[in-house]
C-alpha cells in the first residue's frame, strides 16, 4: 500500500515539522511495516520547467526516422527569455502545447547529464521529457503534454508534476486490512501523534429510497449490504483531474478513464472496492446469489470461467454479470461510450471472497480488500463519494434513486478483565490505560466493575478475541515498554540421547577427516538411473511432491547419495584432489496408509485421532551417507599420497560403530550403486544397517567422480538405537605380553573375518587380541589360495604366561581355524 504523505495529511492534522521519517517510525511502532519511502523525481536536478512549444519543424532523416526541430518558450528560465531550440524525437505534440523541459545543467534519473549538444545538424539546448525519462512510469508513447492550464512557461515543473513528494509504501499485515486505505493509514497517524482526525468516509448520505435500481440479495450471509446509485448523462470523454491521476499514480495505480479512476480513487480513499456498470447494458433487477453448477462467466479480463456453487455472483435478467466482489463481467463493462453508470458498493463475506479469488486465481486490488475485510458501515458513503466525484468531473447528474439492501453484520462483543493487557504483556498497564487505548482504536466500551465489554469499530473485523484487544492496547502503549524478564524454567532434561549421539557421530566423522554437507532432498529418475538402481529397487518408490520446483526432481529423496555424489563431483570439478564428505539427513519412504485427517481446532484431538494422524506420515528415517573420492591422504614431501578406496568406506562405518559401542557384522553384498565385488553389507544383530564400499565404475563416471571413489549409506536411526549407553570400565592385565604370529593358507572365498573368528574362539580366554597384518597371494601358496598372517597376542590376568601355555593356545586357535575354514598353517 502506497500512501502519499500529502494525502495522509489531508485527514490528520499532524504537528508542524513532523518529518516523513518520524511519521513512518511512529507508524512502524504501531504495526504498519515500512516497505520504503518513494519520492518520484528525487533523482532529478533542475532546471526542470514548463515550456510552451512555439514551432515544430519535422526533418526526415536518412535512417528513416523523422525528428522535430522545435523552438520552445521557457520564459525566463533560460536566463535570456529567448525561445530554446530543442531536437525532439516524439510526435505526440503540436505548437501551443505545454510540455516539460529540462534545460542544460539538469540531471535526469540514471545520472543523465543534460547539456547543449550538436545533434541532427542542430544545437539542441535541453530536452522535452517523457514520463519514462523522468522516472515516472514506463509510458514512452511520447513526451508529457501538460493540460493547458497547468502553468506558464518557465514555471517549476517539479511542482506541476507533483515530483519529489514523498510516498510511503507499507507492507500491510493481513490483520490490518483497514490500513489498505488512506482512511485507515491516516487514522493510525492520528493515533500515533494524538492528532485530530477527519474521517473521509464520514459524510451525510441521502436516505435510501425505492426509486433506485432494484436489487435483491438471495444470500445475505455472502452479501450483507448492497448499495446501488446511478449517475446519468456522464461525459465519457471527460478527463481525470490531474490531482486524482497523480494520486493514483503515486499509489501505484495507472489512470485509465475518469469513471474507472474514480472507483479506484474511492477504494484507496475509503478501502471500499467499488464496481461500476454501464447502466444501459443492465437488464432488469440486480440479484446476488451463489453460482449454480455449470454456470460460466467471462470476466473483465476476457477469461471465460467455470463457476463453482460457492462463488457469489451478481446477475440481471441477462444472466450472470459479475463475480461479486472479485471481478465484473464483460457484458456490462463500462466503455468509452458509457454515459449512465450504475455504481455498486457492496459488502461481501471475506471467506467467500478469499475462496473465489483463490479458485479463479484472481488477485485484484478489490479482491485483496474484500477478502481481508472491509468496513461494512461505510458502504453507502463510499457509493455517495463516487457519485460526487463522477458528477463533479464527468458532468453527469446523480439519479435520485438510492438503493440500500441489507444491514451490516453486527460486530462481536469481547469481554476482558481490565488487567488482561497487563497480565499478557507484562507491561504496567492500568485499567484507565486499557480503557483509553481501546477507545482510541474506536472500540465502544461497556464498563463493568471487573470486566469491560468492547464492541470493535466496524473497520476492524480483525478484532474478535480478548488477546486481539490486548495487542491493540499494547501497541499503543508501545512494545518498547515490554520489560525484559527471564522466566523461571523448570529443570530441563538436557539433550536427548539421540541428540547427543548425533553430535558424536558428526564429531567422529569430522575427526576422520570428513566434511559435512547439507544438500537439497529432492530427487528424480535421472539420479536413480545414474546410481544404476534396478527398476524394482525400493529406493525408486518415493514420496512425490504435488508442486515440485523442478519436474526433473519431483520427489523427496530415498537416499542421500545423489546429493552427496554431486557435491563430491563439484569439489573435484573445482580442483580438489580428494574429497571426503558426509551428510546426515532425513529420507522418506511412502507408507500409503491413507490421507492424514484434518481435525477441528476447538479442542484437542483424541489420542486415537492423533495416532491416526501420525500413522499417515511417510517413514522418515535419518540416514548417514559418506562419499570418498580421490586422495584420502595427500602426497607431499613425505612421499606419495593414497587414494580412497573400498576399505576406507567400510573403515569409517567400523570406526563409527566402535565409537557408539555397537558390534558390527560385515558381509560381502551386491547392491547398486556399489561395485558388485567391493560392497559390504553392514549389519547390527543380523539387521541390515546399510552398505559401504567402492562405487560401481559406471556410477563414478555418471557423477563425474574419480575412478574407485567409495561411498557409505546407513540407517543412522538404527545405529543409534543400538548405541551403548553405559560403557563398562575395561579391565586389563599388566603382565608381560606373549606374541605369536601365524600364517594360514586358505582357499579363495574364505573370508578373513571367518578365519579370525575361528582363531579368536579357538585361542580361548588367554587371547588378548588378534590382528590380520598381511595378506599374500602368489606362487608360494599356490593358485586359488591366500595366505593370511595374523598376530596373536596373549596375556593372562594374573600371571606371566609360560611358553608352553602360549603355544598351546596358539595351536588350539590354528586347529579351530583349520577345522572351520580349512586353513593350513604355513611353516
Amino acid at each position: 500500500m502506497k500512501a502519499p504523505v500529502s494525502w495522509i495529511r489531508e485527514y490528520v492534522d499532524l504537528p508542524a515539522g513532523v518529518t516523513t521519517d518520524e511519521l513512518t517510525a511512529r507508524l512502524t511502532a504501531l504495526g504498519l511495516k515500512l516497505e520504503g519511502i518513494h519520492s518520484a523525481g528525487a533523482d532529478i536536478t533542475g532546471p526542470l520547467v514548463v515550456g510552451r512549444v512555439l514551432t515544430v519543424e519535422p526533418e526526415p532523416q536518412k535512417n528513416g526516422k523523422t525528428i522535430n526541430w522545435c523552438s520552445v518558450d521557457v520564459g525566463a528560465a533560460n536566463g535570456t527569455g529567448e525561445p530554446q531550440g530543442i531536437v525532439c524525437g516524439a510526435h505526440n505534440f503540436a505548437p501551443g502545447d505545454l510540455v516539460v523541459v529540462i534545460l542544460p545543467g539538469g540531471v535526469l534519473p540514471g545520472n543523465f547529464q543534460i547539456s547543449a549538444r550538436k545533434t541532427y545538424g542542430h544545437l539542441s539546448a535541453g530536452m522535452i521529457c517523457s514520463a519514462r525519462e523522468l522516472g515516472l512510469g514506463e509510458d514512452h508513447d511520447g513526451i508529457i503534454v501538460l493540460p493547458a492550464d497547468a502553468g506558464q512557461p518557465g514555471d517549476d515543473a517539479f511542482e506541476v508534476l507533483g515530483l519529489r513528494e514523498e510516498v510511503i509504501e507499507f507492507e500491510i499485515n493481513p490483520d490490518r486490512a483497514y490500513a489498505l486505505s488512506l482512511r485507515g493509514i491516516a487514522r493510525e497517524a492520528a493515533l500515533a501523534f494524538g492528532a485530530p482526525y477527519r474521517d473521509p468516509a464520514a459524510r451525510t448520505v441521502p436516505e435510501p429510497n425505492d426509486l433506485g435500481h432494484p436489487v435483491e440479495i438471495d444470500d445475505p450471509a455472502g452479501c450483507p449490504v448492497f448499495v446501488a446509485r446511478k449517475v446519468t448523462g456522464f461525459d465519457p470523454a471527460a478527463p481525470t483531474p490531474d490531482w486524482m491521476a497523480l494520486r493514483l499514480q503515486q499509489a501505484g495505480m495507472r489512470p485509465i478513464s475518469l469513471a474507472v479512476d474514480v472507483t479506484n480513487y474511492v477504494m484507496l480513499e475509503t478501502g471500499r472496492p467499488i464496481h461500476g456498470y454501464d447502466a444501459h447494458k443492465l437488464t432488469g433487477p440486480i440479484r446476488v446469489r451463489r453460482a449454480r453448477e455449470g454456470e460460466r462467466l467471462t470476466t473483465l479480463d476476457g477469461v471465460d470461467r467455470a463457476l463453482s456453487p460457492e462463488d457469489l455472483v451478481v446477475t440481471d435478467d441477462s444472466g450472470i454479470i459479475g463475480l461479486g466482489g472479485v471481478m465484473g463481467g464483460e457484458t456490462t463493462e463500462m466503455s468509452a461510450s458509457t454515459t449512465n453508470i450504475l455504481v455498486e458498493a457492496a459488502h461481501w463475506d471475506a471467506v467467500s471472497m478469499f475462496r473465489t479469488g483463490k479458485r479463479h486465481k484472481i488477485g485484484s486490488e478489490a479482491g485483496k480488500r474484500n477478502e481481508r475485510g472491509v468496513d461494512p458501515v461505510i458502504t453507502p458513503a463510499a457509493a455517495d463519494r463516487v457519485v460526487e466525484l463522477l458528477t463533479t468531473y464527468g458532468g453527469g447528474t446523480a439519479d435520485p434513486g438510492v438503493t440500500v439492501v441489507g444491514t451490516p453484520p453486527a460486530p462481536p462483543q469481547i469481554t476482558i478483565s481490565y488487567d488482561l493487557p497487563a497480565r499478557v504483556t507484562g507491561i504496567d498497564i492500568d485499567a484507565a490505560a486499557t480503557v483509553a487505548n481501546l477507545e482510541a482504536v474506536g472500540c465502544t466500551l461497556d464498563k463493568a466493575d471487573s470486566t469491560l465489554t468492547a464492541t470493535p469499530p466496524p473497520w476492524r473485523p480483525d478484532l474478535n478475541d480478548p488477546f486481539d484487544l490486548v495487542e491493540e492496547v499494547a501497541r499503543i502503549v508501545g512494545y518498547d515498554r515490554v520489560p525484559s524478564v527471564l522466566p523461571r524454567e523448570a529443570a530441563g532434561r538436557g539433550l536427548s540421547r539421540e541428540q547427543r549421539l548425533r553430535r558424536r557421530v558428526g564429531r567422529t566423522l569430522a575427526g576422520a577427516g570428513c566434511v559435512e554437507v547439507i544438500s537439497f532432498p529432492f530427487v528424480g529418475d535421472a539420479a536413480f538411473d545414474a546410481l544404476g538402481l534396478p527398476a524394482d529397487d525400493v529406493r525408486r518408490r518415493t514420496v512425490r511432491l504435488a508442486n515440485p520446483l523442478s519436474s526433473e526432481e519431483p520427489s523427496y529423496t530415498t537416499t542421500l547419495l545423489p546429493g552427496l555424489l554431486k557435491a563430491g563431483a563439484r569439489n573435484i570439478g573445482r580442483g580438489a584432489t580428494g574429497v571426503a564428505l558426509f551428510e546426515t539427513g532425513t529420507v522418506a519412504f511412502p507408507t500409503d496408509r491413507g490421507p492424514a485427517p484434518i481435525y477441528g481446532v476447538d479442542w484437542r484431538p483424541s489420542d486415537d485421532e492423533l495416532a491416526k494422524l501420525f500413522e499417515a506420515l511417510p517413514e522418515q528415517p535419518l540416514h548417514l551417507a559418506v562419499v570418498l573420492a580421490g586422495e584420502r591422504e595427500r602426497a607431499g614431501w613425505w612421499g606419495s599420497g593414497r587414494d580412497a578406496g573400498w576399505s576406507d568406506a567400510i573403515g569409517l562405518v567400523r570406526r563409527l560403530a566402535a565409537e557408539l559401542g555397537v558390534g558390527l557384522e560385515v558381509e560381502s553384498a551386491t547392491r547398486a550403486p556399489w561395485h558388485p565385488g567391493r560392497c559390504a553389507q553392514v549389519r547390527v544383530n543380523g539387521v541390515e544397517l546399510g552398505h559401504a564400499g567402492e562405487l560401481h565404475p559406471k556410477v563414478c563416471q555418471a557423477f563425474g567422480l574419480p575412478a574407485r571413489s567409495a561411498a557409505v549409506e546407513i540407517d543412522l536411526d538404527l545405529l543409534m538405537r543400538h548405541a551403548r549407553d553405559v560403557t563398562p570400565g575395561p579391565e586389563f592385565s599388566t603382565y608381560p605380553l606373549a606374541k605369536e604370529d601365524v600364517a594360514l593358507v586358505v582357499a579363495d572365498g574364505v573370508t578373513a573375518a571367518a578365519v579370525e573368528a575361528a582363531l579368536r574362539e579357538g585361542a580361548g580366554p588367554l587371547l588378548e587380541s588378534v590382528r590380520l597384518f598381511d595378506v599374500y597371494t602368489g606362487e608360494q601358496v599356490g593358485e586359488g589360495r591366500t595366505s593370511l598372517a595374523f598376530a596373536l597376542r596373549f596375556r593372562a590376568p594374573d600371571r606371566t604366561l609360560t611358553e608352553e601355555e602360549t603355544a598351546a593356545a596358539r595351536d588350539a586357535a590354528v586347529a579351530l581355524a583349520a577345522e572351520r575354514t580349512g586353513a593350513v598353517q604355513r611353516s
Partner: protein
C-alpha cells in the same frame, strides 16, 4: 641419550697404528722395573695424546694405546708384582698415580668431546619446520549443524529442551492447529510444497511450528522447548532465498508467562549469540499463531546500534543499527486450545528465526547458496564447533 651416531663415527675412522708396538717377546723374568722418569714420560705422553684427541674416535684410540693391556703403564703395572717388596710399593704408588691421572684426563676429555658431538649432531639434524604438514585432510561439521547446536546449547543452559519432528508433516499440524485455517489469508503467504496426492493432506513443513504443536499435544506444561530444523517453501533459489532452509523456534508455556518473559528470553539469546549488550526490540506484527505478535530486531552487533563503522554506514545492518531477526508473540489461545493446553490456566510465548539468515549476518556470508553447495573450502573454515 642416543649413542648410535657415535658408534657409526668410530667405525668409519681408519685404524691407527699403535705408537709402540706390542711386546711380542715378553718375558716377565727378564723385566726390570720402570724408572720413575719413564713412568712420568708415559703419563705425559698419554696426557698429551688425550688433550690432542680431536674427537671421540681418536680418544678411543688414545685410550687403547695409553691405558690398554699393552700400554706402557699397563705393562709397567703388571711388572710391579715381580719387584722386590720395597720397590713394589714405591713403583706401585708411582704407577698408580700416573694411571689415575691418565684415567681422569680421559674421562674429562670424553665428557667434553661427547658434549661437542651432541651439539654438532643436533645441528646436523635440523629440519625445515615450515614444510607442509597436511598429510591427512581436515574434517569439519556444517555451520548449520553447529549453529543449531550452539543455539540449542544456549537454551539447554537455561533449562529448556530441544524438540524435533518430521519434515514431511500432516497439514493439520502444520497449519490448522496453529490457527492457520484453510481460509486463513496467511496460508497464501506461505507457498507450500504438498505431497502427491494433495488430498492426503501432507506437506513439507513450512516452519518448525508443528514441532511446537506436537510438544503441546504430547505433554502438559510447563513446556520450554526450542525446535531447530529444516523447513521448506517454494521459493526460487538465489543468493537470499532457498526452497530449503533452517529455522529455530522456541515455545514456553507456563502459568503467568508474559511478553516480558519473551523479551527476557530473546535478550538473553541475543547476548549469548552475539555478545553482551546486544539485545532486541519488538515491532507490532501479525502471525496467526501468536497474539499479540511482534517482529524481533537485534541491535547490530557490528556497529552496536550506531549504524556506522569508521564513519561509513555499517554494512551488516545497512546503516539501520538494527537487524531484522525473526517473529514472536504470545501464543494465541486458539492454538493452546487445539493442542490441549488450558488457555485459562496457561499462557505462553513463541518465537522463530532463520538459522541460515542468522549465520549469514553473524559470519558475513554474502550468498546463501554457499551453505548448500558442499564446497569443502566453505565448510572447513568453520571447523567442528561454531
Amino acid at each position: 641419550m642416543d649413542r648410535e651416531p657415535v658408534r657409526v663415527a668410530r667405525a668409519r675412522l681408519p685404524r691407527l697404528d699403535p705408537v709402540s708396538g706390542p711386546n711380542t717377546d715378553y718375558d716377565p723374568v727378564e723385566v726390570t722395573p720402570l724408572k720413575p722418569e719413564e713412568v712420568e714420560a708415559a703419563r705425559d705422553a698419554a696426557l698429551a695424546a688425550i688433550a690432542a684427541a680431536a674427537d671421540l674416535a681418536e680418544l678411543k684410540q688414545v685410550r687403547i694405546e695409553h691405558t690398554g693391556d699393552r700400554s706402557p703403564l699397563a705393562l709397567a703395572n703388571r711388572e710391579i708384582g715381580a719387584l722386590p717388596p720395597q720397590a713394589r710399593k714405591e713403583a706401585g704408588q708411582r704407577i698408580g698415580q700416573a694411571r689415575g691421572a691418565v684415567n681422569q684426563a680421559l674421562a674429562a676429555r670424553q665428557e667434553v668431546l661427547e658434549a661437542e658431538h651432541e651439539e654438532r649432531m643436533l645441528v646436523e639434524e635440523t629440519v625445515d619446520v615450515t614444510l607442509p604438514t597436511d598429510r591427512v585432510p581436515t574434517g569439519a561439521r556444517h555451520p548449520l549443524t553447529t549453529g543449531a547446536e550452539l543455539i540449542s546449547d544456549i537454551f539447554v543452559a537455561m533449562g529448556w529442551e530441544v524438540a524435533e519432528g518430521p519434515v514431511i508433516e500432516a497439514e493439520w499440524l502444520n497449519f490448522d492447529a496453529l490457527n492457520l485455517g484453510p481460509d486463513h489469508p496467511a496460508r497464501t503467504m506461505q507457498d507450500t510444497f504438498w505431497t502427491e496426492p494433495a488430498e492426503n493432506h501432507l506437506v513439507l513443513r513450512t516452519h518448525t511450528s508443528p514441532v511446537q504443536a506436537r510438544t503441546m499435544l504430547s505433554r502438559q506444561p510447563p513446556i520450554y522447548v526450542v525446535c531447530p530444523g529444516r523447513v521448506f517453501r517454494t521459493d526460487e533459489y538465489d543468493a537470499t532465498h532457498s526452497p530449503v532452509f533452517h529455522q529455530v523456534e522456541g515455545l514456553a508455556i507456563d502459568e503467568g508467562i508474559t511478553m516480558a518473559h519473551l523479551k527476557g528470553t530473546l535478550d538473553h539469546f541475543a547476548a549469548r549469540m552475539f555478545g553482551d549488550g546486544i539485545n532486541t526490540r519488538f515491532r507490532p506484527s501479525y502471525f496467526p499463531f501468536t497474539e499479540p505478535s511482534a517482529e524481533v530486531d537485534l541491535v547490530c552487533f557490528v556497529c552496536r546500534g550506531s549504524g556506522e563503522v569508521d564513519g561509513a554506514p555499517c554494512r551488516t545492518c545497512r546503516g539501520e543499527g538494527w537487524i531484522e531477526w525473526g517473529g514472536c508473540g504470545v501464543v494465541n489461545p486458539r492454538v493452546l486450545r487445539a493442542c490441549g493446553v488450558d488457555p485459562e490456566r496457561y499462557t505462553g510465548f513463541a518465537f522463530g528465526m532463520g538459522i541460515d539468515r542468522t549465520l549469514m549476518f553473524r559470519h558475513g556470508i554474502e550468498d546463501l547458496r554457499a551453505l548448500f553447495e558442499g564446497d569443502t573450502r566453505f565448510t572447513t573454515a568453520f571447523g567442528t564447533e561454531l
